[in-house]
């Protein structure tokens, strides 16, 4: 079932090319949306069948390249299931949002479906090489999406994105090889490596491997100082591409931390956790401050992603602190980090899609060119408002649940760092409120560059269909988060047990 979930989109993407050239775009769109809905249904079915006792479920393995220690091994646990569900939901939202996309729709849909396979595969992978394969392929697919359907400077942005994340992926590969050679017998299997803890007692080797893995994942996450590819890539990417990039691809980095770095290198992780805490706080503050200075709406949202990812890095760094804090608090931090991944995926996905709505009507992301949009587009204004408030961590939304857990969990072990990070919340609140005031309040003003339509029509149905479910889910998670936390908590406890070895 898991294998089907992962590979069906890629198979359909290939079939799309087999369709005759005369196929109307409608057929492509319908196939794309139906398939994305089917994927979501599949993942919901998996969720209902998932037993909350924890442990790896839906496991499947097959021999692939035994002599190189590589196998096909997939499975789902409390860390990956929420992200799989998030991936399916966001891809459906993007399929709906792209109903009006006219530029080479067949290739666009095929690339997205292929990208969906790589994302799902990465979260399901239980073999380092399988993980790496999907990691790299996601870069390739996203590169083509940005380069092919982006805005003016897309080629440059796409190249930068590719080069940065590719460097990261190779550092990751070197780290994986280090793990592989340390294990006996040599293997890339994650479960086996986690069990063996092959680098226990070898501090220099372990430190170097951790350095390679953390560097690779930090580029993807991205954290300061590896974040410089992110704003450019986001600004130039098409709206659906940005939503996936921020909503799903960034999670690959943070997911790698909890899935690979923490359980497989516990000793090195505990030793260098302080570095991660510092990086996390720097990302939080730097992301928020730079976002505050932006006038470009999309760029601002992009920098808040750096900020939000910083909380996650802070939490997983703080979780490594030893005895002097209670295990419950640290478990809270890890749970908060995973919840934050889901919450950020929903909210940033929605915000980027709304940025796409803005651009599609006004042909610019510059916030100074707009004002008073609430008067002409009340639905748009409401959605942007909800997304922004949720994103700044207002109680009642998923962002609050996540950040509250992160702060509660981290405050004990790392009081100074956590209190510094709280400033980040203040800053994001300020910048989102400022952006809302500029865009929505005041007298109506629209950009009047030549060739742009004067009117600012409100949200269309397909755009609403894409954005509203994301926001509804953010509210549901904010009000009744138990159904998610029940799944995450056992997994985060087991991560901590592994970390304590």
């Amino acid at each position: 079932m898991l294998t089907a979930l992962v590979f069906v989109p890629a198979a359909v993407a290939l079939l799309m090319f087999a369709l005759p050239r005369r196929t109307t775009p409608t057929v492509v769109r319908v196939v794309w949306i139906l398939l994305s809905a089917l994927e979501l249904a599949l993942v919901i079915a998996m969720w209902t069948g998932y037993s909350t006792n924890g442990g790896m479920q839906y496991e499947q393995r097959a021999r692939w390249i035994p002599s190189a220690g590589v196998g096909y091994h997939v499975g789902v646990d409390g860390l990956s299931l929420p992200l799989l569900a998030l991936t399916c939901l966001l891809f459906l939202a993007c399929a709906l949002y792209s109903l009006r996309e006219n530029r080479r729709i067949r290739e666009f849909a095929a690339l997205f479906l292929f990208l969906e396979t790589t994302c799902l595969g990465l979260f399901a992978a239980l073999d380092l090489i399988l993980f790496f394969v999907f990691f790299d392929l996601s870069i390739v697919a996203m590169y083509f999406i940005i380069a092919g359907w982006g805005h003016r400077q897309a080629a440059r942005a796409a190249l930068k994105f590719f080069l940065y994340t590719f460097i990261g992926s190779l550092a990751l590969l070197l780290g994986f090889i280090g793990l592989y050679l340390a294990a006996s017998p040599h293997t890339f299997d994650m479960v086996e490596l986690t069990r063996q803890n092959p680098l226990a007692g070898r501090s220099l080797y372990g430190g170097l491997v951790l350095l390679a893995i953390v560097a690779g994942l930090a580029v993807k996450t991205p954290t300061v100082p590896f974040h410089t590819w992110l704003p450019l890539a986001h600004v130039e990417a098409p709206a659906a591409g940005s939503a996936i990039l921020a909503g799903v691809l960034l999670k690959m980095g943070t997911y790698g931390f909890v899935r690979i770095a923490m359980p497989m290198l516990p000793e090195a992780w505990r030793r260098y956790a302080l570095v991660l805490v510092v990086i996390g706080v720097l990302s939080v503050l730097h992301g928020a401050l730079v976002a505050l200075a932006q006038t470009d709406f999309k760029r601002m949202v992009a920098y808040t992603s750096v900020n939000h990812m910083g909380y996650i890095v802070l939490a997983i760094g703080a979780a490594a602190a030893t005895a002097d804090s209670s295990a419950q608090a640290r478990s809270l931090a890890v749970t908060g980090a995973v919840t934050q991944m889901v919450s950020h995926g929903l909210l940033t996905g929605a915000l980027f899609l709304l940025a796409g709505v803005l651009y599609e009507r006004g042909r610019t992301y510059d916030m100074d060119s707009y004002s008073g949009l609430a008067a002409v587009a009340p639905a748009f204004a409401a959605m942007t408002g909800i997304a922004a408030f949720a994103s700044l961590g207002l109680p009642g939304f998923s962002g609050f649940i996540a950040e509250f857990q992160i702060f509660t969990g981290s405050l004990g072990p790392r009081p100074l760092a956590t209190s510094l990070a709280v400033i980040g919340i203040l800053l994001t609140a300020g910048l989102f409120l400022r952006a809302l005031r500029q865009l929505l309040m005041g007298p109506l003003h629209l950009p009047d560059a030549p060739g742009t339509p004067r009117a600012f029509p409100d949200i269309r149905i397909h755009e609403g269909l894409a954005v509203v479910p994301l926001l509804v889910l953010a509210v549901v998670l904010g009000v009744a988060p138990r159904f998610l936390l029940d799944i995450i908590e056992p997994a985060s406890r087991s991560v901590l047990e592994l970390l304590a070895r």
């Binding site: 090319f17 002599s67 790496f132 394969v133 392929l137 380069a147 590719f162 190779l170 070197l174 090889i177």
Partner: protein
């Protein structure tokens, strides 16, 4: 010494190729011009039969033939299959442009002789046979480089020949010195003799020997001929020059490292490691701003040799070295040939800009190009990725972690120039190069891309086969 084994059946693939070359020469003299394709067909049959024979031989345990001069072990068997397979691909690429050419059969014959030289280099266990194989691999290749008899072709052939002759003489000198030092030319014997021989003598001999073998491999510092020869010769010949001799040379180098120099006083692994590092770096730097696609591929092959030298450097120090080298060789060969097949399929596109809009006109060809180029970078799941994974692991395992890190950095750098080619190919507009090559060439490109992808996905069984032990 045991009784001399002189069974020619042990060398069946080589014998078949030689026989087909000689027969082809005779046949070519009698056939009318319009029917000379028969010679090419004969070559194809010989290659296919050779692959079959090599596969059968691969199942048997490792052995040596003609005393200890020629080894039949996994290294030889793999090289045989890869060389013959790539000869088949190159033959497929040449049928179209050569149809009705006045020297059609000569081309096929020279091609087979060059491949035969590479086969001998891969299997030999004797320095004198290595020298003979070097000449057999080189001389037909010189001729092929200038086969078109035009300006660039002549330049290519001349440059190739002059450097080849110079380095060939150096190699013979090196062999002489090693012969004098070790009192023999057979590898196992030399391996014993060099254990306590004077360091200077071994070093001088080894450097001379390296000059020749690196020339065939196209690695730094004997790489100067590569870009010019590749750019100047016709695309099928360029495909040949950048693949087939390399296979033989790298297999030979692996044997030298594993059997002859492993226990000698010479610091062989660091020497090869430095050459590998220089090769991958300089090749990449050279490729960065090339406009001509063949020249770009020429430089890219230099950097690929750098990666291929990584497992050679750790030969005998890591159990992974042999399968890493052989797998990477096969992977590189098929992927590189795929890229050249795309070049052959678009005979009028010379520069990167000429590829603009290829995805619109020929989506499958563009897809093959993207697969092959990303494959050369080492993007999973293509076969070069698995090769690189093995090579990196071998380098780590053999204690050359810095080399693996450098190779990773170079891989990122190489992405830049491959993307410079991919971007125009998949972007819109500018459809100029409408005149297409043959269908056969397109099919070859599809086939190479498919093999490159398939071998990557199904690399498990292949790697198992390659792990057998080398004959000492």
């Amino acid at each position: 010494m045991t009784e001399m084994n002189e069974n020619p059946l042990d060398l069946l693939p080589e014998v078949l190729l030689a026989a087909s070359a000689v027969l082809g020469l005779l046949l070519g003299s009698w056939l009318p011009r319009a029917r000379q394709w028969a010679v090419g067909l004969l070559a194809c049959v010989a290659c296919a039969a050779g692959i079959a024979a090599a596969s059968v031989a691969a199942a048997d345990p490792a052995t040596t033939a003609f005393g200890e001069a020629f080894a039949v072990d996994p290294v030889t068997s793999t090289s045989r299959i890869v060389v013959l397979g790539s000869t088949l691909l190159v033959l497929g690429l040449s049928f179209g442009p050569l149809r009705g050419h006045p020297r059609e059969s000569e081309f096929y014959v020279l091609l087979q002789l060059a491949a035969l030289g590479a086969l001998m280099m891969a299997g030999t266990q004797d320095l004198l046979l290595l020298a003979a194989a070097y000449l057999l691999a080189s001389i037909p290749a010189y001729t092929l480089a200038g086969f078109r008899k035009d300006g660039p072709g002549t330049e290519a052939a001349l440059k190739y020949y002059v450097i080849g002759a110079l380095l060939g003489v150096l190699m013979l000198t090196g062999i002489t010195i090693l012969y004098a030092t070790g009192r023999g030319t057979a590898y196992p014997m030399l391996g014993d003799a060099l254990r306590d021989a004077p360091k200077m003598l071994i070093a001088t001999g080894a450097i001379g020997l390296l000059a020749g073998v690196l020339f065939k491999a196209g690695g730094v510092p004997a790489h100067f001929w590569v870009p010019d020869a590749v750019q100047g010769s016709s695309p099928p010949v360029a495909a040949l020059l950048t693949t087939i001799p390399k296979i033989g040379a790298l297999a030979a180098l692996f044997r030298l490292g594993d059997v002859v120099f492993a226990d000698s006083t010479l610091p062989w692994p660091p020497l090869i490691a430095v050459l590998a590092a220089a090769s991958m770096t300089l090749g990449n730097l050279g490729a960065f701003f090339q406009q001509d696609v063949k020249r770009l591929l020429g430089y890219s092959t230099i950097s690929q040799v750098g990666y291929l030298l990584m497992p050679v450097a750790v030969a005998g120090r890591s159990d992974l070295a042999q399968q890493a080298l052989l797998y990477y060789l096969a992977a590189y060969t098929v992927t590189n040939l795929g890229a050249f097949a795309v070049v052959c399929a678009l005979p009028h596109a010379h520069t990167l800009d000429d590829y603009r809009g290829l995805a619109k006109q020929r989506p499958l060809l563009a897809a093959s190009l993207v697969i092959c180029l990303l494959g050369l970078v080492g993007t999973p799941p293509t076969t070069v990725f698995l090769g690189k994974l093995e090579a990196f692991s071998a380098a780590f395992d053999g204690g050359y972690a810095w080399l693996a890190v450098l190779a990773a950095a170079n891989t990122v750098a190489s992405l830049f120039y491959y993307l410079r080619w991919i971007v125009p190919a998949v972007s819109r507009g500018g459809s100029s190069s409408s005149a297409d090559g043959d269908r056969a060439e397109r099919v070859m490109a599809y086939a190479a891309a498919a093999i490159s992808l398939g071998l990557g996905l199904a690399g498990g069984p292949v790697l198992d086969v390659l792990a057998g032990s080398i004959s000492h």
